[in-house]
């Protein structure tokens, strides 16, 4: 039996500016990245987070993106992004290549989340990872009362067409962190509108009320 801390480590991110149309979950990541850091964003999409980090934090940002459209959008923003795949391309990066590695809303779509997470911890001194929480009450309600796989804002596709093949809850993810020896520096849960939940609460509340988890991890000793 894993002994989770009673209260999740709290990160104060609700003082961030949010007037410019940047995605709120991106702003939550922004708060975790120190200025001037070397950042790798895996699954960087059209590069909006990388551009935000570059413009607001002066980071030296790199990206990996699966879709050609995403890569082209990144090129047009002047971002060095390679067309690639978290499952196959991470092994080619050297240890400690980046200060921060970001994996945003992607781990549930990888073939082997455990190996991906281990690579993240190896490549980056810090890892920022966010994922949809399959323990969210809406998800539970869909399953419990309608008996259907949930379709939500963060998981918008039906079961037969979704890229998400490895769903997990916040508690599941905490368990994986322990298994691979990741230290949780901070963790927060974002509500359905992507805003951080305001008060320190026990894990089970987050696991029920958080639509997504945002974790800041660091490589630690294996238990």
């Amino acid at each position: 039996m894993t002994t989770l801390r009673e209260t999740a480590p709290w990160q104060s991110v609700d003082t961030l500016p949010r007037s410019d149309g940047a995605r709120v979950d991106h702003l939550a990541v922004l708060g975790l990245v120190p200025p001037g850091a070397r950042v790798l964003d895996i699954g960087c999409g059209d590069g909006s987070l990388l551009a935000l980090l570059r413009d607001r934090r002066g980071v030296d940002g790199r990206g990996i993106e699966l879709s050609r459209e995403g890569v082209n959008a990144c090129l047009a923003r002047g971002l060095p992004v390679i067309q690639g795949d978290a499952d196959t391309d991470l092994e080619n990066y050297p240890d400690d290549a980046f200060d921060v590695v970001v994996l945003s809303q992607t781990i549930q779509a990888t073939r082997n989340p455990r190996i991906v997470l281990e690579h993240l911890l190896r490549i980056g001194r810090q890892v920022v990872i966010s994922f949809p929480n399959f323990g969210h009450w809406r998800v539970r309600a869909e399953l419990a009362f309608r008996g259907r796989m949930p379709v939500t804002a963060l998981m918008p596709e039906a079961w037969y067409e979704t890229q998400n093949i490895h769903h997990c809850t916040i508690r599941d993810f905490v368990g994986l962190c322990r298994m691979v020896g990741a230290q949780i520096e901070t963790a927060s849960a974002l509500n359905a509108s992507g805003r951080p939940m305001r008060f320190a609460m026990p894990w089970w509340v987050w696991n029920l009320m958080g639509a997504q988890g945002v974790f800041l991890l660091r490589r630690g000793e294996r238990s």
Binding site: R38, R62, R68, V71, N72, A73, C74, L75, A76, R77, G78, L79, P80, V81, I82, Q83, G84, D89, N92, Y93, P94, A97
Partner: protein, 404 residues
């Protein structure tokens, strides 16, 4: 096709040169190209990897656009194996438009309204830069196989000397496909401080065993032609046209893809619907390949083909760095955009990924795009909107970063 020859010898040209020029158009270009030439005298030899100081030598080149006052908007295009300096200019032998007018021109991704674009014929080729078809000043005869073996690094050294001559301190962009991409990688490795942005396309950091094998078949075809005359065909008054044609036919297959061949030719018959029960070119694909072979012979020198294929075979950027490709790019400030094509089996995407992984390991800023295309290796020369969009995005962002 323009096959008219200027039979009057240029002032100062030797009798041998005049005779050669009258003999064949491609040799005419070797001696007296239809483009500007930079000549390097005895005080400026080219130090070649073969251990030879080549002197005198010349580089034929073409330009488009205007160099700005800061001399900061220069783009170097590196051409492929059988390419030439006429990237945006009518070819003097075939009369065809410039080979990269799809990508280069006013308003195109390489915008000649904004950048000063240079392309030089590589050393060892036959379009005006010194190569095996040039006259050896020491003997008064064509070099033939007396020409030293050429490497990709030699080509790049010569290009750097040309830039020095043109008083261009550094390049805004160095770009090329296939053998041109090899030169781009060599530029980034040899002169990182002179390359702001680099685009190696459809290329590899080394030539694969399969590619060396294809090249060797081509070379053996040339050498098996009695008209090759141990490389002395220019003096013998013969041409290894059959051998060179076969070499080109074989190579041309590697530039395409099965889906492209199937779409273009399928199993369709040439001028009929039934086999002729002969070895005539029954199939359209046979006729097409024969045409490719024949037209190539009219514009290219067989010995130059031997030398340039060899240069590609020898290319292995990691071998110069203790086997670690990343070491070739350690500490580089150059921004890279690597590009490959899904159906390219000559330089498959895996080759480009190896470059990208090395650049990542060296912490170099690198973008990578794999373009979906069924046109094979030659896709980089063709109308590929996805490639153009990616190139435009990368080049414009680089121009912003350089203040152009």
């Amino acid at each position: 096709m323009d096959t008219s020859l200027d039979l009057a010898p240029a002032p100062g040209a030797s009798h041998e040169e005049a005779r050669l020029r009258a003999f064949a158009p491609e040799v005419s270009q070797a001696a007296d190209p239809t483009s500007p030439v930079a000549s390097f005298g005895p005080d400026e030899p080219l130090a070649m990897d073969a251990g030879v100081a080549l002197s005198p030598f010349q580089i034929a080149y073409q330009t488009a656009g205007t160099l700005n006052a800061e001399r900061s908007n220069a783009v170097l295009i590196c051409h492929a194996l059988t390419g030439d300096q006429h990237f945006a200019h009518t070819h003097p032998v075939t009369g065809k438009p410039g080979w990269w007018e799809t990508l280069v021109g006013p308003g195109k991704p390489i915008d000649t309204d904004r950048y000063f674009v240079i392309c030089s014929n590589v050393i060892g080729s036959c379009m005006g830069s010194t190569g095996p078809a040039s006259i050896d000043a020491a003997t008064g005869r064509p070099y033939g196989l007396d020409f030293p073996l050429v490497t990709i690094r030699d080509m790049v050294r010569a290009q750097a000397m040309l830039l020095d001559r043109l008083e261009i301190p550094d390049l805004f962009l160095c770009i090329g496909g296939s053998m041109g991409g090899m030169q781009v990688l060599q530029w980034a490795a040899s002169y990182p401080e002179r390359v702001f942005a680099a685009m190696p396309i459809a290329t590899g950091a080394r030539h694969s065993a399969q590619n060396i094998a294809f090249h060797e078949v081509g070379r053996q075809a040339i050498m098996a032609d009695p008209a090759w005359a141990e490389g002395r065909y220019l003096e013998e008054g013969t041409r290894p046209a059959k051998g060179l044609g076969v070499a080109r036919m074989g190579a041309h297959i590697t530039y395409l893809s099965e889906p492209a061949l199937h779409r273009k030719f399928g199993r369709r018959f040439q001028g009929g619907s039934a086999p002729t029960f002969s070895f005539n070119a029954d199939f359209q694909i046979e006729s097409y390949l024969r045409h490719q072979g024949l037209s190539f012979v009219e514009r290219f020198d067989a010995n130059a083909y031997l030398y340039l294929t060899r240069a590609m075979d020898y290319f292995d950027l990691a071998a110069d760095q203790g086997g670690v490709l990343a070491n070739a790019f350690r500490g580089t400030k150059t921004r890279f955009c690597v590009m490959s094509f899904t159906s390219d089996w000559l330089f498959p995407t895996a080759d480009s990924r190896a470059i990208v992984h090395a650049l990542n390991a060296a912490s170099a800023p690198v973008a990578f795009v794999e373009v979906e295309s069924d046109k094979g290796h030659d896709a980089f020369l063709l109308d590929e909107p996805v490639m153009f969009a990616a190139a435009k995005g990368f080049i414009e962002a680089a121009a912003r970063a350089r203040g152009l």
